[in-house]
Subunit: 190 residues, 2 copies
């Protein structure tokens, strides 16, 4: 087994390191309300745990970035867990069958050449830390989970990032999206 | 859950629809001997089953083919289970960390522009039916499983296909490979 450190589970319930401050159904079915979220590194195929809801994802290799983009991202993207980054967002999405039926060059063209997804993300680094988890091949309800972390002072910048992504051609292929906002538990909401 | 029909398990043991006729360690660690192989569609994260060895994979979207290649493949590639295709090969491979650290454009360039992987495959269609399963994100020992089916009269053509792939630049990134050959159980070996 070579899954060490790549599989994660997000669990919503009555306890957790993050307080859920908003739970918005953006498209398709939403998720039940819950007060807290916890994030767990798990073994692949760990048995399910009781939770209001949970979702799993795997950190995997890059699927679209080219070498120059990969270098630019590596030079500027921050790690998770920065002390000042007390706000987070958990945004799971599912893409349509039409998306998945496309060839690699067609998906890449929509993601970057037409939608500037990678460029938009770069514009908001290092303020907004971002980590992508893949779920589609893990039998999950969503195809991707993106986890964002940022300081309260960068909340407006984060809103701009999300709004810009949702306005892209790529997002016309998103048929389910939920937007969960969080504050580090123990940090007063201001 | 949307995993219906995408997750499969290959189990080697004392019973199964395919008789194992050869089990060759090509690079890295091999697999224990066993007389038969069975192929099962399973729910994602199904509990493990007793077997001499087993491996799981998921049928997933195309990762490298462009639109013209996808069209050419779709026009010519046969389904599995043809009556005359009584021979099969199960070839699990793992690629090195160096492979997975590359960007998409670099991996694509090695796969097709330098190694002609897709072109080589097309040359041997429709004689050799091929199906790819992804394993890397499923906590498995291998990254990919390819399953091939062909008629005895096309056995030489299959050997040419495998030899051509192993001679590519892409294959220098393969750090583990096992080559399992099979005959449909109940069919006399000739």
């Amino acid at each position: 087994m070579s899954s060490g450190g790549r599989h994660f589970e997000f669990r919503a319930g009555t306890a957790g390191g993050w307080r859920i401050t908003a739970n918005a159904q953006v498209s398709g079915a939403g998720l039940p309300p819950a007060p807290f979220l916890s994030v767990h590194e798990i073994p692949f195929a760990a048995p399910p745990v009781q939770a209001a809801w949970s979702m799993r994802g795997v950190r995997s290799h890059d699927r679209y970035v080219n070498r120059p983009e990969k270098e630019r991202l590596a030079a500027i993207q921050p790690e998770l867990g920065r002390a000042q980054a007390t706000r987070a967002a958990l945004i799971p999405i599912r893409k349509s069958d039409a998306w998945w039926a496309m060839a690699q060059d067609e998906r890449r063209a929509i993601i970057e050449e037409k939608s500037r997804h990678i460029t938009i993300g770069l514009q908001h680094l290092p303020a907004v830390a971002r980590r992508l988890y893949h779920c589609r091949d893990l039998g999950q309800e969503f195809d991707f989970i993106t986890w964002f972390e940022f300081a309260p002072m960068h909340a407006d910048q984060f809103e701009t990032l999300v709004a810009n992504l949702r306005a892209t051609q790529e997002w016309t292929f998103v048929d389910r999206e939920v937007d969960i906002r969080l504050t580090l538990a123990g940090v007063s909401q201001s």
